[in-house]
Symmetry: T
Subunit: 145 residues, 12 copies
Amino acid sequence: MKILILNGPNLNTLGKREPGVYGTQTLDDLERLLVKKYPADNFEFLQSNDEGVLISRLNALLEAPADGVVFNPGAFTHYSYALRDAISMLDIPVVEVHLSNIHARESFRKTSVIAAVCAGQISGFGMHSYILGVEALKLHTNSKR
Amino acid sequence: MKILILNGPNLNTLGKREPGVYGTQTLDDLERLLVKKYPADNFEFLQSNDEGVLISRLNALLEAPADGVVFNPGAFTHYSYALRDAISMLDIPVVEVHLSNIHARESFRKTSVIAAVCAGQISGFGMHSYILGVEALKLHTNSKR
Amino acid sequence: MKILILNGPNLNTLGKREPGVYGTQTLDDLERLLVKKYPADNFEFLQSNDEGVLISRLNALLEAPADGVVFNPGAFTHYSYALRDAISMLDIPVVEVHLSNIHARESFRKTSVIAAVCAGQISGFGMHSYILGVEALKLHTNSKR
Amino acid sequence: MKILILNGPNLNTLGKREPGVYGTQTLDDLERLLVKKYPADNFEFLQSNDEGVLISRLNALLEAPADGVVFNPGAFTHYSYALRDAISMLDIPVVEVHLSNIHARESFRKTSVIAAVCAGQISGFGMHSYILGVEALKLHTNSKR
Amino acid sequence: MKILILNGPNLNTLGKREPGVYGTQTLDDLERLLVKKYPADNFEFLQSNDEGVLISRLNALLEAPADGVVFNPGAFTHYSYALRDAISMLDIPVVEVHLSNIHARESFRKTSVIAAVCAGQISGFGMHSYILGVEALKLHTNSKR
Amino acid sequence: MKILILNGPNLNTLGKREPGVYGTQTLDDLERLLVKKYPADNFEFLQSNDEGVLISRLNALLEAPADGVVFNPGAFTHYSYALRDAISMLDIPVVEVHLSNIHARESFRKTSVIAAVCAGQISGFGMHSYILGVEALKLHTNSKR
Amino acid sequence: MKILILNGPNLNTLGKREPGVYGTQTLDDLERLLVKKYPADNFEFLQSNDEGVLISRLNALLEAPADGVVFNPGAFTHYSYALRDAISMLDIPVVEVHLSNIHARESFRKTSVIAAVCAGQISGFGMHSYILGVEALKLHTNSKR
Amino acid sequence: MKILILNGPNLNTLGKREPGVYGTQTLDDLERLLVKKYPADNFEFLQSNDEGVLISRLNALLEAPADGVVFNPGAFTHYSYALRDAISMLDIPVVEVHLSNIHARESFRKTSVIAAVCAGQISGFGMHSYILGVEALKLHTNSKR
Amino acid sequence: MKILILNGPNLNTLGKREPGVYGTQTLDDLERLLVKKYPADNFEFLQSNDEGVLISRLNALLEAPADGVVFNPGAFTHYSYALRDAISMLDIPVVEVHLSNIHARESFRKTSVIAAVCAGQISGFGMHSYILGVEALKLHTNSKR
Amino acid sequence: MKILILNGPNLNTLGKREPGVYGTQTLDDLERLLVKKYPADNFEFLQSNDEGVLISRLNALLEAPADGVVFNPGAFTHYSYALRDAISMLDIPVVEVHLSNIHARESFRKTSVIAAVCAGQISGFGMHSYILGVEALKLHTNSKR
Amino acid sequence: MKILILNGPNLNTLGKREPGVYGTQTLDDLERLLVKKYPADNFEFLQSNDEGVLISRLNALLEAPADGVVFNPGAFTHYSYALRDAISMLDIPVVEVHLSNIHARESFRKTSVIAAVCAGQISGFGMHSYILGVEALKLHTNSKR
Amino acid sequence: MKILILNGPNLNTLGKREPGVYGTQTLDDLERLLVKKYPADNFEFLQSNDEGVLISRLNALLEAPADGVVFNPGAFTHYSYALRDAISMLDIPVVEVHLSNIHARESFRKTSVIAAVCAGQISGFGMHSYILGVEALKLHTNSKR
């Protein structure tokens, strides 16, 4: 499978900030972990603090599609209707993932303006949320065959 | 692992209702699927339309704990603060799962009064949501060892 | 016609409480009244204070359907999304009825989380609300033939 | 019985608009239906797109009362506090009726500013809502004798 | 002074309805009372249940102005932004009056969409509210000379 | 008549502040104006910036009542439930008055927590609001004789 | 094209009120302007302060349709669900227009209960809003041929 | 006195969960404590996780009344309008008690849908809340004699 | 024990106002009652209509503490964040009491801005609420020894 | 005229996504269409998914102004207060345009945080919305000469 | 410069309460600190728990003005519209200061009803907030010369 | 000290726009002013209209920290939860500053989604807000030594 692992703002600091909340593993560790666990799959990794870059990457899937996207929109989750539009026009499944349980934190984190146009949402399992996101894409794809 | 698969109201009708939304597989199919996929694990399955039965089953985990719970609270998700209390007093991880993407349906379905006291939430992957829930428990448990 | 007359919490106390508001007739009187007025029809009467029992009875209609349901959900009207789900999966008409005019009482009574998935709602006519509910089922059924 | 059948804005178009929602019968058909079904009763029919005309007709009931009113206020249901006042000063029962189930449509249709001062509300049974309204008046009147 | 006494919906029923709340005097009594108390002034009296008639009467003041208006908008107080617009374009003072204390009744009566464009508001003094309204116009006019 | 003219916070500065909004007359001018206009009446004037002083003065009316109170609560209008309680226990009429039209200013000024327990409310007529308040008391008292 | 130019309450006063906001041109000027600019088209002009008249004119389009409607509902924009219903049942395009930018004024003006059932909304261009409305109808019609 | 001590969901786990919040005493300890402290009184103790069981027990008081009820509804406090109805039809005093100070916890715990139909509410005193509840019943009963 | 019985605005009028709601006993009666019932305890009684006096008395407890406070804040309950701050800095328990059941009255009375920083809240038992407050302090203190 | 046609996020995908909603024409088609229709005018076209780029382009108009801007902010419409600030500091007219009728879609699309600082808003006419925007600028400019 | 340092309720307890939050310095320490740091300036210090005293002190500035006011309104920040009025009538700058960052605490602390009529607001710097307030007054005054 | 002066969207236009509101000084003037006033300190200045650039600059402080940040987030203040996250992970103090008093402008400007994670907030002092911000950092730093 060709899978895009997309990460939004501040996720570049993983492992460097608040390890009590987010653990000590970095985004590089995540990439190595996924590549090792799913050697047969074709991963692309992109992190950006820039909403426009994320939108453009998603737009590009219209012409060069992948099999699915695992997307952690970071704090853009709560207000980026532009990302929502970029996702809603795709034909491939996008799985929204979060490291922490967004339902157990500040109340503004409970609202995702993006989840309604994704295939589903997974939150609360740290780095494992990405693995579960990949599993979800695989289960989703197999069940359609 | 000892895992409790807990299902709330109306989930007994799976496969019999709205197959366009929920698929044609029944709860029995789910049970067979999980037992087959995880032969080494010890599953207990309980479905009830009765809030009190669900609360009591969760209460019992205080004295005879399992390693984790995968819980689809059905529509109780949106108002049962009593189930929330029953979960919040447990020391083992509870993963909230939903068949459909609750964020893409009627607005009352976007609010879970239970998610804040769970380890995490997975929604939108049909029967696969339960498998992802079990995977989440396993990843969660392994990472603690 | 086979008609299920379903009554929710506290309706067992009809005739015993607040006669100024609810009259002096009991649920037994209602049953006798309906059987006498519609001798050709086949009524089943069920009252329960237990949300789970009501859900299960509605679930059972998936396999042994009636021609229609007249349902007074009592105070469950205002919060039981689980009953809503149980109704929305049925193919037969459910008419929501209320003894008192719920729009003329405390403000929480104005919201029905159930009405949106019923065929219609009738409120304010005391015991007669049930008769009107049966009439509504009959008119509804005849107009479809 | 002397019964006023009062219809608010746009109900003159019945049968001419959105037959999928409102059916193909016109207001004339309704009038014929009621007269035929209740030959012993004395019906007056009034439809107006004009709030003032409806208020004035209701005001006139103070001096030349009928036995009851079956009123479909159309979209005035949702904002005409002036109609509410005109109803609340009457001593005869007014039954609010709606063709469609107003609780199952756009959210603004769920609020009736009028229902609180009516005897009751019936919604969702198409043309039959008027018949049920007449029945409700008859049951209501008989039970008072 | 030339003074327009304008009355909105249902005020034609004064003295005929709810005398416990609104007293037994009719609108004719009010007219006689004002003419007698202020013989030197030139009153015009208009009551209408029709929003359009009220708007048009106010519009006409642009070309044939009076010295002031005492206006009881009845229930239009709570939603007629069209009346608000009709008042806001006038150069003469309009005093909003109410028979009952609108702040002591149902909560929807507390909001006036009209008061913000009037010179002031007087509520709660029964028929006397109109006299106070005339007094207010006189004091207002004298203080400007 | 024995009339208490009660003024709340900041009204001591009348004539000294924002003359464009509140005019150039002081509270002393108001007192002289009322005494001159109503020589037969017995006025008591009290202004205080202190909520407790105003409450205590109103409490004292339980034992040494006046015929009525004209009360401008200033900004206490918007939050002093304690003043509301002090008024609601009185048997004599209290008229709430405001210099400016509170419905035409900042939105917080539109809510009076006090008006519901007063006989009525008069706002928008500058110093004349007090005269209208006294007139209202007189009309109110005469109509009761 | 046969085009209905429909104007709601207070628009008869155009040019006579608040010229700083609405300019000095009257509704007659608008009519002359449109007829001159679009000599080949067939215009009907109707202004009314009366909601019922506007509803009835729209209802009549069900039987004698025009090619389109340019409608300035004035303040009815903000509460007339009855006009909304009258528009939603039409098959021809209705363009909602406003002289002023309704999004830049009082907050109640930002909500249109009508726009959702129109083809589109144009606001803020004074008299030109009507020309743009006609252009919109022409572009809309041509693109469908 | 005959006193019913009624406990709602999860209170069976007292002493077994979160001892930092709820202490180490169990419901059995509470029962022993009350019986010992009030040896002359006749206590009935009932705990249930099932809303229907609690409603039915309260219903039964219509025919076999006690002198009063001390009721800790647990999390049902926040949504069970059905329990509210069951209490409001009783003629005997019901005192709502809570172990913790519900006003000092999550915001959803501040709303009791039940308190309005109880004699009073006592919260925040741990096990002592029940003793205070019994004292309240005794004081209440004595003051009526 | 040294106990401060603190009363807020309007409580000086107890027994003089609305005896149907608040009974005929005065604050003096309350003081006598408490002194008689608890002869071994050291009571201080303070009532003030003045928020500042109440705050200052609470502040003084920082330097000359009592064992506890029973506080009826009257209507300050609903808005005095300053009293809240004064309580939250104390180390001794403060019990909020109310004569009437504040949850069964006007909706603004349901919100206490103070309860969250008190040990607990007792409402609805008339004069007995103070006795229960003292009992609560005693139980609270004993359980800590 | 020198006119800037500014397009926000995702508009680069026009013609490639959801042709049922947005048609099959691309942004290039729009550019060709405008240049062809208005050969005498000087157009600049800019689309960006990047809020910062759009803000900077608008900022640059302070020093090298155009005669007007036609701006489709895409989903930034609903939250970019930064774009609002960038527009509000300009002296030239900005017309907000939308392809679809934003008032007829999801409720979040009804709120424009930008419209209040634009000359006006046009929505619902597909590609024609841009033509109407240019027409609006031309009419606006001519009327000022 | 003549500067009034005004402190509201509970600030007299500084240094005596919650030193973890508010530090160990008292209001006396603050006074000494300011006098020492700004020996050329003329400070007046006033703290009161009494809203009326604070209002009266501000009122007095109308006749004996200072060059500016540094005001910590304590909890009055959140509800005292009377203090707001007292500030808004002054011609000299008032700087609102807070010891703690009011935006990082309970949600009710985020709303200041006073800030809108002050020159500016400074919060979060402990005792230094007052120094910054004095600096702000000095910078403000110098920039006006 | 090493201090980062960070400016958000549109602040590059300072001195060029709305001088009545924001003065005539440019960002360059600000930089010169700070460098001159604090010659011993090490300033870095960064302005960007691009949220991503601001986030990345803040992220970089994790590895190459400064002693503090003075941050004017411009309109990002009101919605950029991504900037909030970028600040909350830093160990150095960030002071939020605003030129204008954000509490005295449009209501959307009163909400800062960022202030809760800053050391404090300073608003309303024009260019001086930055100086006060630097002073705040210095006082804050000294008090920690």
